[in-house]
């Protein structure tokens, strides 16, 4: 596999932060690979919706966010959560339905949240996080402290009315809301072009009076730079914006299907050649931010941590049945 090269004359962030971004991308990749295993071994209930291949988008965007900024995520949410600082241990425990999970096992794979980190939840309703993100942006504007709200969603969600209705409101009320569309080319098993009229989301966003940028979603620095511009403007009260990141999921819509019936081998190979991880690695190596040995060490360290999270979760109890009736009301 030849990784496509991205050359950047100057790096936009200090080495420490770049390393942190790299670590997060690696963590997402490894987390998804391990969840794949966990699912295949029957160690988790429900379905697993993985985002390996898409790591650059959440990491590039979240690198521009502060701890008190918020995000909302999707059914394919592991990457967003890790990128915003979520810890793999309570994530894995949640995926495995344990009481030690982020949501005490009540939310599950599609509903991980860590509100203390500004992660207002993954969401099983496609487009379901968008209204919530608009509301968080409303609160942020009211607070007046420059906080922003990011809604992550897929190419499928752009055809839900909630996008349109909140876009109109967000522009009118100048809310600090960034719509981030992770276009992985497919809405389940159908190519997005078969489902999307016109010039796509960018044109729609502009028609609503919003700035919109479209970037190579597998180039973490390109994502970072575009997000940096839009988030910065939103912080300064310039209102909402849309960012479209073109990317690809390597696996199936969920682990139960191989992802090949509706996508050609060539298409998959083409995207694997643009894998965000080696591309970022090459930049970091080139700029001597990291050495090959560092990479290997980091890989081992993350792998060990994620693997340990499985073992720990396996040993953790399921929630007690009496919890079923708790947390309905505050």
């Amino acid at each position: 596999m030849t990784a496509q090269k991205t050359t950047t004359a100057t790096l936009p962030l200090p080495p420490g932060e770049l390393l942190e971004m790299y670590r997060k991308m690696l963590t997402i990749r490894i987390f998804e690979e391990i969840v794949f295993d966990v699912y295949r071994k029957g160690l988790m209930p429900g379905l697993a919706h993985l985002s390996d291949g898409q790591e650059a988008t959440p990491v590039g965007v979240c690198a521009t966010l502060h701890p008190d900024d918020t995000i909302t995520s999707t059914h394919r949410g592991h990457g967003h959560i890790i990128a915003k600082g979520g810890r793999v241990e309570p994530m894995m425990a949640e995926v495995m339905g344990r009481v030690t999970g982020y949501c005490r096992g009540k939310g599950g794979e599609m509903h991980i949240a860590d509100v203390s980190l500004g992660i207002l939840g993954a969401n099983g309703i496609v487009g379901g996080g968008i209204g919530i993100a608009a509301g968080s942006a409303f609160t942020a504007k009211r607070e007046g402290k420059g906080r922003v709200s990011v809604a992550f969603f897929g190419d499928g969600a752009i055809n839900q009315g909630i996008w349109y209705e909140t876009a109109n409101i967000a522009v009118l009320w100048k809310l600090p809301l960034i719509y981030v569309c992770e276009n992985n080319q497919y809405t389940e098993f159908t190519h997005f072009k078969k489902l999307t009229a016109g010039e796509g989301l960018g044109a729609r966003a502009r028609a609503m009076g919003m700035k919109s940028l479209e970037v190579d979603g597998n180039d973490v620095l390109a994502v970072y730079q575009a997000a940096h511009e839009l988030v910065g403007a939103a912080r300064k009260g310039k209102g909402p914006a849309t960012l479209i990141c073109n990317t690809f999921r390597y696996g199936g819509h969920h682990v139960g299907e191989p992802g090949t019936g509706y996508r050609s081998k060539e298409e998959i190979a083409e995207w694997k050649a643009k894998d965000p991880l080696p591309r970022f690695e090459n930049i970091l190596l080139e700029h001597k931010v990291i050495s090959p040995a560092d990479i290997e060490a980091m890989h081992d360290e993350v792998l060990t941590r994620v693997q340990a999270s499985v073992t720990t979760a396996q040993q953790a109890p399921f929630p007690d049945v009496k919890e079923a009736g708790e947390h309905v009301f505050a």
């Binding site: 509903h111 207002l120 209204g131 608009a134 109109n168 947390h327 505050a330």
Partner: protein, 331 residues
Amino acid sequence: MSSRELTFAQAIREALDEELARDERIFVLGEDVGVWGGVFRCTEGLFQKYGPERIIDAPLSEEGYVGLAVGAAMTGMHPVAELMFGDFITLVMDQIVNQAAKMRYMTGGQVEVPITIRATMGGGRSSGGQHSQSWHAWMAHVPGLKVVVPSTPYDAKGLLKTALREPNPVVFFEDKVMYAKVKGPVPEEEYTIPFGKADIKRQGTDVSLIAISRMIHPALAAAEKLAAEGISAEVVDPRTLTPLDEETLIQSVVKTGGAVIIDEGYNHFGTTAELAATIAYGAFDYLDAPIERLGAMDVPIPFSPPLEFATIPNEEAILAAVHRVLDGRRR
């Protein structure tokens, strides 16, 4: 306590006003709630008093602004989102049911979602099939929502103030026929009314009339008529459907031995079903006759007044039902 007479709409407005003054996290949004003061005058003057940041005219995008309200509630605000006609709740079911109602549970208790949805209900104004419906039973079928159905200005004010101090999603139904037409005493002093406490609007011993929202008024009128016939009817107002004060309902029927349940929501699979089933279970050994259910006729709501009135329970229908209960007594 000193008291004045307020209309139902004025009582709502006063509750909003007092709570807006008390808690700056509270804001109101909806269609024409701001400058215009609301089509039913429930927010009159609030825009002038609290400004455009807190009394907000939203675009005609119910799903959008209710969705936004859910997110605002999750991040520390306390929105009051208005649905001008409760019929439009169909447009925001996802935001209420799949988001607001379950966010706390699904996060294992991480968030509170203090959103209040104010929605009208009720027919009788010849507003046609899409502006007259009463969907409180739907909401009461959803875990995670509190559901309020006040019948008097006093209750409306006290319950709305409670809603605005609740850390949970509340759907607050206001029968629009009462806004201008129902007046009642409301103390000058501040008060709140707890959720889950039924109110016995009239004491009685022979039969229980359990009525929801505006239906309390024909029930009280029927009780008055029955008194003249020597029949003592108790009139019970659950006031909230979730939580439901099952105990008070059951005890009333334990005492009287018979019940008529009156609601303007549809009869089939509606509020009358839940109340009848609950009472039939809890007062099984005390029931002298089958419980009579008087919900709205199960048809889309017709426009023409003679038809529309035929679909809504009224005093006559209540009296007839009471006589069925009393005549049908098995002991």
